[in-house]
């Protein structure tokens, strides 16, 4: 039995500790917002936070989450009010949308470390998150916009 917290709630799962966190989140905990894209930390669709740090959950064994706090896209706000969600909606970032949970989770860590990132900061921080629709220009603009919203006190 492995115990940790997900989006503020304690959970216990009876699985092999080597099972990737991604599948525990998606199948055991039914949090399907975190996506499977490649299974080898190459695309970023599975990005979540463990104790606030971005982790590719498709290669992170669930044992790594034991005793820690995991945050998924479902947990960043209850009502679409996170600055990144507000910016994403304002700029209509997603197309197919499959990669966007991972994009937002990566961007959240960037904004924590650099509240006013440059284009170069964004490109560098987001390079591990692939978007097959090519929404990169809007992702970049939305991260700048989220930085403004956060600075203006919209942050939770």
């Amino acid at each position: 039995m492995i115990s940790f917290r997900v989006n503020g709630k304690p959970v216990k799962v009876d699985v092999d500790g080597s099972m990737p966190l991604l599948w525990v989140l998606r199948e055991n905990l039914q949090l399907t917002g975190t996506k499977y894209g490649c299974g080898m930390a190459q695309c970023g669709a599975c990005t979540v936070h463990i104790d606030g740090e971005a982790v590719r959950s498709c290669v992170a064994p669930v044992s790594r989450a034991a005793g820690r706090e995991v945050t998924t896209i479902e947990g960043i706000s209850p009502d679409l009010t996170h600055p990144l969600q507000r910016a994403w909606i304002e700029l209509d970032v997603p197309q197919c949308g499959y990669c966007q949970s991972g994009q937002i989770m990566s961007a959240a860590v960037l904004l924590r470390d650099k509240p006013h990132p440059s284009d170069e900061d964004i490109d560098e921080a987001m390079t591990g998150n692939i978007c097959r629709c090519g929404t990169y220009p809007r992702i970049r603009r939305a991260i700048h916009r989220a930085a403004e919203l956060k600075a203006a006190g919209g942050a939770k």
Partner: protein
């Protein structure tokens, strides 16, 4: 373009009072005799669907799949504009599989070829215009005035004489009892309120909080997950397999042979994949065993030197090329390319004795439906396709054999419970239906002033139409 929507009684699909007392309008427009007869206006096939609930919610049933291109917003915009709907109350809904939702040009239910918005343009407008006309008739009856005295705006019918107004929600139940008019004028495009204006996509909020449901996200009670070992070569056949090690993986429930290979059915993806990786399989690699990209390229290069079929011939390029002038030769090649959707292929099937339900992100509902009926042995009306969001399509999710759906129905036959087949990223990349490789050999010559004197262009590649349901579209050279 026709300025009026024509709807005859027999063409009227459904007009019923739903459980909520809402208005449900379905529209059949005259069907094309053949796909070839369909003009680019795209208004031949039956289509279009709008529901207005008593709370005023306008649900637009969209017959094209949302894979990022925005049809769950653009097609509702067209309908809502003619309806004079309140855009804030407009919702989208994926269409079930039904001939009423066939592509107006292709004559099958599918999404592809960058055709959805233009082919559905007047179709969705007409659906909205008819709904609006019925709501006006309902209001006119209630006020006991002529319909001409009524106008519409933003989800209301307005009485120009008294300034009274009734919302579409208030009128829905009454409207449901009225036979729609045969002819309905469409707006002059200069009067569009929504079309041509940038509006927010309707699907953005659910794509920023993890709530959007793609095929891979579908969960059913008691569902198992399968990963399939497919042949290492296209056309390979299974000879023998040893499932002992796979079956010993905790969580693996069944290991079964299916036409595409060996399916490992387990409690979840991880167990199924570990089981799949532990299989020992012997394949008969078949006729393609020795096929190689290099060998095919050499063959194409050889074919490019031969005559081939003429796509266009003017003058005598060979003579001009042999004459004076500056000669330029070039070869252009494109390789086989995987469509590489962000969401790897997947499918969920719940197969029962008397029904088969399929959940998947598909671009080709008609083909999937036919395949599922054939494989399950059920009647077409016992098979339903639930179209989810697509994590990208690019054509891979529309193919002649409905491969990812057909395979899942086969697995479901063995599973005995609802089952989801997930392709790993590697499976998806190796699994084919690539954009075909092409080889172009060009030769040209220019005169002293740089003006072209001749152009010879040999193209070698595979047809993407031949052998499939779209072969009818295929001319001598597609």
């Amino acid at each position: 373009m026709s300025a009026a929507a024509v709807m005859e009684r027999r063409e009227f699909l459904k007009l019923t009072v739903g459980a909520s007392g809402g208005l449900l309008i379905g529209i059949y427009l005259p069907a094309a005799r053949s796909a070839r007869a369909a003009a680019p206006e795209g208004v031949f096939a039956p289509n279009a669907f709008v529901r207005i609930a008593t709370d005023g919610t306008v649900s637009v049933v969209v017959n094209h799949s949302e894979m990022g291109q925005g049809v769950y917003t653009s097609l509702p915009m067209l309908l809502a504009d003619e309806l004079d709907a309140d855009w804030a109350k407009v919702r989208f809904e994926p269409a079930p599989v039904d001939p009423a939702y066939n592509h107006p040009v292709y004559g099958v239910q599918m999404t592809g070829g960058s055709t959805s918005t233009w082919s559905g343009f007047d179709q969705f407008r007409k659906a909205g215009a008819v709904a609006r006309a019925v709501l006006v008739m309902a209001a006119a009856q209630q006020w006991n005035v002529a319909a001409e005295k009524c106008t519409t705006a933003s989800g209301f019918v307005l009485n120009s004489a008294t300034n009274a107004r009734l919302s579409y929600g208030e009128l829905a139940a009454k409207a449901a009892l009225i036979k729609p008019p045969a002819e309905v004028p469409l707006k002059n495009p200069k009067d569009f309120q929504l079309v041509g204006k940038p509006l927010k996509r309707l699907d953005t909020p659910e794509k920023t909080n993890g709530k959007a449901v793609f095929g891979i996200d579908v969960m059913l009670p008691g569902m198992l997950t399968a990963v399939v070992a497919r042949g290492p070569v296209f056309g390979a056949k299974l000879k023998t397999f040893d499932s002992a090690k796979a079956a010993a993986v905790p969580g693996v429930r069944k290991v079964v042979a299916v036409p595409s290979g060996v399916a490992v059915i387990a409690d979840g993806f991880w167990a199924a994949k570990r089981g799949r990786d532990a299989l020992q399989i012997e394949w008969d690699e078949g006729a393609m065993a020795d096929f190689s990209t290099r060998g095919m390229r050499e063959q194409y290069a050889g074919l490019a030197k031969e005559a081939g079929l003429d796509a266009r011939k003017e003058g005598d390029a060979a003579v001009a090329l042999a004459g004076a002038g500056k000669k330029i030769e070039a070869v252009y090649e494109v390789p086989y390319l995987s469509h590489a959707m962000m969401e790897p292929l997947n499918c969920v099937v719940d197969l029962r004795a008397d029904r088969c339900e399929v959940w998947t992100g598909t671009q080709f509902q008609t083909g999937d439906h036919m395949a599922a009926a054939q494989i399950s042995g059920l009647k077409p009306e016992q098979v339903q396709i639930h179209t989810t969001l697509l994590g990208g399509g690019f054509g891979r999710r529309a193919n002649p054999s409905a491969d990812f759906v057909a395979e899942c129905v086969h697995v479901a036959k063995s599973a005995g419970v609802p089952v989801k087949v997930i392709w790993t990223r590697e499976d998806d990349m190796r699994g084919g239906f690539y954009r075909p490789a092409y080889y172009h050999a060009l030769a040209g010559c220019l005169d002293a002033n740089g003006v072209p004197l001749a152009w010879s262009h040999h193209i070698v590649g595979q047809s993407i139409m031949e052998g499939g349901p779209f072969a009818a579209f295929h001319q001598e050279r597609d």
